[in-house]
Symmetry: C2
Subunit: 396 residues, 2 copies
């Protein structure tokens, strides 16, 4: 009998009524002939509420204790879901991280999963039980609770699917992956199949449907991941090894308003200065995304880069040491990206993108590319126009 | 360095502000030269709120899952307290039942503690950390979370004190054990020292200051238990082996309105019928407390007994098989008890009690006694008068 691992997100279990609905959906799957393992997130805003509680105790809560606190959210929802399934008359059992020895590398707040003892799960499945696993949490070698980071339950689900040689279904409050965020472009098309690489690029660019680590795991072990709407028959999206190109160079488009660009003027043009600047920024754990540099003039260059808005003040402190000129700060930027595995084999995608921008007076500021992605920054006010034009150009 | 185990009840940690106050109190104790282990209950009404949540899922929640759910309450409060201590600048670490392998006999909702691995606690104390333990919870041999029942954190604390050879302090929202509930008799005196036996009798009679099991454990291992007001210097009560009698035959008085008395008329007077009645009642897990029987007449007797009010309907179903006559039900009863280890050596205590009742027209219905206790039922409307008169008679 095939095993399926289903994951339900926090919005799908926000109330007891919704938990009961998920219980029915899980039982439906079992009645279709599957052994079912369910990974569950904390109810609704529980995680945020727990963080609030911790903030009421300390401005800088101890990381070990914060993880121990946050892990309770999924313990609560998993036992409630098991109760709900049993109440309908099907056997079920919940497991927390201790009970299946879900081992992590011990990093608080963003652990990686190292191993899972699937024996208790297999035993329960053999006894015809539906197994409910608390997502998001793990145990370090020292026996400390550690969490996997926001969206980490996705990764719990994929890791379990890997270990159990199971199918993997991620249920959430959207009915699949769209080529463009439907809130920005109402004609956005749902994607039937998307490759792991494309999904990873889109995830890291702000399409926050999936925890990146879960997609990486799926890719590594070649586990297809189905993403769909909770308790619904609407057809969702498969993240999988895409074999046949659909003759479409661009699969998706993502925009993000969360960055700010900083331009440093008249920086000494030598490799030591440059690496020193970015090392100093990295030492503060500030994530630099795009970097571009002008050609040197009189032994100095201008350097632009983007960082998350939240880190602006800290970053300015760091760069002050490298230039007497006031840095130019541009908060009015939108990061605009197109992603497509088809770019590997289709030339001229960048040319088409920039022609669209040029013909419509959309100014492009910085540009970076990868094999399957083109990212540029544009002015915030051009965002919706750019989304619409580019979505039409590439039939997204 | 001496070890102390302190327990703080739910009302002492009901808000983040109160948790911070407990953190300070714990640190004060450490600064007095103790190694400190803190056992903590769930915040305020958390346990009731979690039960509500479960009731929203099922009228009869699965016992395993309910225990897993309820255990989260103490995980939350213990990590918050450890955070609060660290925030003040002292080192601390929280442990849940898995982390110290607090093993139980596996009975859901009312487990007994079988063993605790104190090694992680000892190691943390040696590293100068304050240890915070989630009360009320344990793990069965099969790895299931089980809880110890209402007030079970008291028992966690005493069990830890036994294993760590430590002093034991129970902090709550009352400043000690009183001879009479101060809400019923404003001149009630605080007891400085009370024996385990007396405390056990009082606990089982409705003076719900302490979890009975914790007092039994204290008695078995001769661990003195201090009961006092949280975060306060007011002197509380020691529960301990009382060596010297204070020449006071009665230590405390307890009343309870939670029982109903049932009288069965014209029951066949043979030992098989009698044992059969009470076995049938016991089979329904109904707790029969007082029993009295009239002398046999014409081969039949009348039997009166008390049971918890909540079980009345179920009990009536059971006894219907034994008599055609309608049972007499008296819900207008108060169970009135006096307790004192001095009764063992002082005669005439019962006589004094009944003289007081007789002189004041208080009708006594049923009577049972133990070596250190006299219990009777009286009419509900005589309760306050009886409390006042008896408290004065025995100087309580």
């Amino acid at each position: 009998m095939a095993i399926v691992v289903q994951k339900y997100g926090g919005s799908s279990v926000a109330t007891t009524e919704k938990i009961k609905r998920v219980a029915k959906s899980v039982i439906d799957k079992k009645n279709k002939g599957y052994k079912v393992v369910v990974v569950i997130s904390a109810m609704g805003d529980t995680t945020d509420d727990l963080i609030e509680l911790a903030k009421g105790i300390s401005n800088n809560p101890d990381k070990r204790e914060l993880d121990a606190l946050l892990a309770t959210g999924e313990m609560i929802s998993s036992s409630l879901l098991a109760m709900a399934i049993k109440d309908i008359g099907y056997d079920a059992i919940s497991f927390n991280a201790f009970q299946i020895q879900l081992k992590t590398n011990g990093v608080y707040g963003k652990s990686l999963i190292e191993d899972i003892n699937i024996l208790p799960i297999k035993n329960a499945l053999d006894l015809d039980k539906i197994v409910v696993v608390a997502g998001f949490q793990g145990v370090s070698d020292e026996g400390n609770l550690t969490t996997l980071g926001r969206g980490g339950s996705d990764t719990t689900a994929v890791a379990l699917a890997v270990k159990l040689d199971a199918e993997c279904e991620i249920y959430t409050d959207v009915d699949g992956i769209y080529s463009v965020d439907p809130r920005l472009y109402k004609n956005a098309k749902k994607i039937e199949n998307i490759s792991y690489e494309e999904m990873l690029e889109l995830s890291s660019l702000g399409a926050q449907v999936m925890h990146s680590r879960s997609v990486e795991l799926g890719q590594k072990y070649n586990i297809p991941i189905y993403v769909g709407l909770s308790c619904s028959d609407i057809k969702g999206t498969y993240i999988r090894e895409v074999e046949e190109m659909e003759n479409k160079p661009v699969t998706g488009l993502a925009v993000s308003d969360d960055d700010v660009s900083i331009t440093l003027l008249d920086i000494d043009y030598d490799i030591y200065t440059l690496s020193s600047i970015f090392e100093s920024i990295a030492a503060r754990k500030i994530n630099v995304d795009m970097i571009s540099q002008t050609a040197p003039q009189n032994g100095s260059v201008n350097i632009s880069f983007t960082i998350p808005k939240a880190d602006l003040n800290e970053c300015l402190e760091v760069v002050r040491a490298y230039t007497v000129k006031r840095p130019i700060i541009d908060e009015n930027v939108t990061k605009f990206s197109i992603v497509g595995i088809g770019m590997k084999t289709t030339s001229g995608v960048a040319a088409r993108l920039f022609r669209v921008f040029k013909e419509n007076n959309i100014q492009v500021k910085m540009i970076t590319t990868s094999e399957i992605r083109i990212t540029c920054t544009i002015n915030r006010e051009d965002k919706l126009k750019a989304v619409e034009l580019v979505a039409k150009e590439f039939n997204l």
